[in-house]
C-alpha cells in the first residue's frame, strides 16, 4: 500500500461565477494525507475546504492537477466507484428508508446478501451506540442520532478514507464536544484515514493529527495542531487559529537569533527568531494573550508599560485589555488559578506587560 492515503497534486478547481467571471475555489493545492491519519481541512467558508473534499469524493472533478487515493489516480474514477465514503453536513440520510435500509445501502449496492447485511447493520449500530434502531425512520431521530446513523452508514463499507464535511455543525455545543471525543476514539479504533472539514479551529485542534489551514483556495500551512498554533506561518493563520495580538513594528537590528524591533511610541522589544531580517523592515509581531503576563517582571524578557482599558471576567480566565504608550492594544489572559477570585488590576491602572523573547512570532505576510 502506498504511503499516503490521499494525495492532492497541484489541484486547481475553477468555477464560472454567475457574473461570468472565473473563481479559483481551490488554487494549486498540494497536500499528502498519511494512512490512518486524522487530517483536518480548516478555514473560513469559501476557503476551498469543502470543494477539496468533494473532489476527493468524486463529486467534483479538478480543473487541473491530480488526486490519488493510495497511489491510484482518481480522475477517471466516478464517485460511486471510489474507495471513500462521506458523512455529509446535513447527514443526507434517505428519508424514505428505515435506519436499517440507510445503513445497509452501501452493502446492498455491493450485492451483500440480506442476512449478512442485517447482521452487519446491527454491528454498525452497536458501534455508534444506537442498538435496536433498525426500524426507525430518519425523521424520528434527533440530530445527534442522525449524525451517528450517517457515520455508521459510511463506516460499514470499510472505506479506505472517510470524508467528513462539518458533520458536527448542526449539533449543540455540549453534544458537539462529546461527539468530537467519540469521533477521535472511533477513528483510532477503526484505523481508517479521516479527512475532516471544519471551520471551527478548536474542533480541528482537539481532534486532528494534522491540520491544513486554508484560505481563498490556498493551503497556507499544514502541520500538527501545536505547530499551527505555536508557530503560525502567516498573519492569517495566527489570527484564524486562536486569539492573537499583532504588534506592528520596525526591525532595528539583529544579534544572532535575537531580533530588535521597535514598536513605534512604545519601545524596543527583543524576539528570538531563526530567520534573518533587514534593518528597517516592517514586521508584525504576533503574541498569544496567554503568553502575556500582567505585573510579572521577567529578567531577560520584554517589559512594556501600558494602561488597563477593560477587564472581562469569563470564568476560567480574566481578560485584560491594555493599551501601550504608542497606541497598540493587547489582550492579556490571566488564568484564575486561585479558589478566591481576585482581580489583578482595574481599568485605568498603569501596568507592566511582560513576555519572554521566545513567545512571539515575527510575521512578514
Amino acid at each position: 500500500m502506498a504511503e499516503f492515503a490521499v494525495e492532492m497534486q497541484d489541484v486547481l478547481k475553477q468555477f464560472i461565477t454567475p457574473e461570468g467571471g472565473i473563481l479559483s475555489a481551490v488554487n494549486h493545492v498540494t497536500m499528502q494525507i498519511k494512512d490512518g491519519e486524522f487530517f483536518s481541512l480548516l478555514g473560513p467558508s469559501g476557503c476551498g475546504k469543502t470543494t477539496s473534499l468533494r473532489m476527493i469524493a468524486g463529486f467534483e472533478l479538478p480543473t487541473d492537477g491530480k488526486i490519488l487515493i493510495h497511489g491510484k489516480e482518481m480522475s477517471q474514477v466516478p464517485a460511486f466507484q471510489r474507495p471513500v465514503n462521506t458523512v455529509f453536513q446535513q447527514y443526507a440520510l434517505f428519508p424514505h428508508m428505515t435506519v436499517e435500509q440507510n445503513i445497509g445501502f452501501g452493502l446492498e449496492m455491493k450485492g451483500v446478501s440480506r442476512a449478512e447485511r442485517s447482521m452487519r447493520v446491527s454491528e454498525a449500530l452497536e458501534m455508534v451506540r444506537l442498538p435496536g434502531m433498525e426500524m426507525r425512520r430518519p425523521k424520528q431521530l434527533s440530530g445527534g442520532q442522525q449524525q451517528r446513523i450517517a457515520l455508521a452508514r459510511a463506516l460499514i463499507n470499510k472505506p479506505e478514507v472517510l470524508l467528513l464535511d462539518e458533520p458536527l455543525g448542526a449539533l449543540d455545543l455540549k453534544l458537539r464536544k462529546e461527539m468530537q471525543l467519540e469521533l477521535k476514539t472511533l477513528q483510532r479504533e477503526v484505523g481508517i484515514t479521516f479527512i475532516y472539514v471544519t471551520h471551527d479551529q478548536e474542533e480541528a485542534l482537539t481532534m486532528s493529527d494534522r491540520i491544513a489551514v486554508m484560505s481563498k483556495g490556498v493551503a497556507l500551512q499544514i502541520g500538527k495542531p501545536e505547530e499551527i498554533y505555536e508557530r503560525p506561518a502567516s498573519k492569517f493563520v495566527a489570527d484564524f487559529i486562536g486569539e492573537t495580538n499583532f504588534l506592528d513594528g520596525v526591525v532595528k537590528g539583529q544579534n544572532n537569533s535575537i531580533v530588535e524591533i521597535e514598536l513605534t511610541g512604545t519601545g524596543m522589544i527583543y524576539v528570538e527568531s531563526s530567520r534573518t531580517f533587514t534593518n528597517g523592515q516592517r514586521v508584525a509581531v504576533a503574541v498569544r494573550p496567554e503568553k502575556l503576563r500582567l505585573n510579572f517582571d521577567t529578567k531577560d524578557g520584554n517589559n512594556l508599560k501600558g494602561r488597563v482599558e477593560e477587564v472581562i471576567y469569563i470564568g476560567t480566565d480574566t481578560h485584560y485589555g491594555v493599551r501601550f504608550a504608542g497606541g497598540q492594544k493587547v489582550r492579556v489572559r490571566e488564568q484564575n488559578v486561585n479558589q478566591e477570585y481576585y482581580q489583578l488590576s482595574n481599568p485605568g491602572d498603569e501596568v507592566t506587560i511582560s513576555f519572554t523573547q521566545i513567545s512571539p512570532r515575527i510575521l512578514t505576510e
Binding site: P18, A57, G58, F59, P78, A79, F80, Q81, V84, N85, T86, F88, Q90, A92, L93, F94, P95, H96, F105, G106, M109, K110, R153, A154, N157
Partner: protein, 303 residues
Amino acid sequence: MLKFFRRNKGLQLFSLISPGALWILLFFNLPLLIVLFISFVERGRAGSIKIPPVYTIENYRQLFNACASQFAGPECDPLLYIGIFGHSVRIALVVTFWCIILGYPLSYFISRQRQIWRDTLMVLVIIPFWTNFLVRTYALKQVLATEGLLNSFLMGLHLINQPLDLLFNEFAVVVGLVYGYLPFAILPMYASIEKFDHTLMEAAADLGASPRQAFLRVMLPMTLPGVVAALVLVFVPVVGAFITPDIMGGGKIEMIGTLINRQFGVSRNWPFGSAMSLMLMLLVLIGVIAYFRSSSEETRRAM
C-alpha cells in the same frame, strides 16, 4: 352583533367556507344528482326525458349490450360501447405514459437551472394555457396536415417523397392529447423534483450506487408523489376528452368523450349519455382507488 361575530370562531369559519361549499353544492353536486336521475329514466321524443318520468335500467343495459337498443341493426356488435371504453382507457394510458416520460426529464432539467432560468422556463411551459385550447388544437392540426408544416418541411429536405398521413388517426389523437396535457404532468412533477434534495443523489453515489441505481432507489421513490399526481391529472381528463379526438381524429377515432358528446348532441339521447357519464366516473374512481390501494404509503400521504 359584530362583537359576537368576532368572538365566535365557528361562525367565522362557517362564513369563510359557506360560499365555496354552496357553489360546489349548487353547481356540482346537484347537477350530478340530476344526471344520476336522468340516467335511470326513458328518453323523451325531443331528446330530453319523458314527462312524467318512466324509470328504467335500460340505459345501463344498453351500455353492456349495444344490441339492446331499439335502433340496433342486424349486424350490431353487443360489446360496441365496452370496446370504446376500453379503447379510451388505452389511449389515455398511452398519453399519460408519454406525458410522464417526456415531462419528468424536462421537469428535472428545469429544476436544475438557476432561479431566473427556472422561472422563465416554467412560464414557457404555462404560456400555451393563455391561448384557447381549441385554437391550439387547430394550430397543431395545421402542423400535421397533409400539406402542413411538418410534411412540407420533410418533403423540402427530400427525406420523404410522399406526404405522411399524420392526421385523422390514433397517432394524431395521441399527439394532440400529449400536447394538450403535458403541462399538467410537468407542473406536479416539477414541484416534487424541485423540492428533492440532490445531496441525496451524491450520498447514493458515495455509497456505491450507479447513476441508474441512485435514480431508481432514491430519486424516483422520493419524487413519486409528483409522478402519481401527474398520472391522475393527465389520465382522468384524457380518458373523457372529446374535443381533441374529435378534431385530430376527424371523427374516425371514437372515445368515451366523443360518444357522450354525441348523446347530448346529434343523437339526442340524454339518458344514455348520462348513464355513460356515470360509468366513466365510476371507472375513473375505481381506477384511482385501486391505484392508491396498491401504491406505497408514501404516495398516499402525498395526495
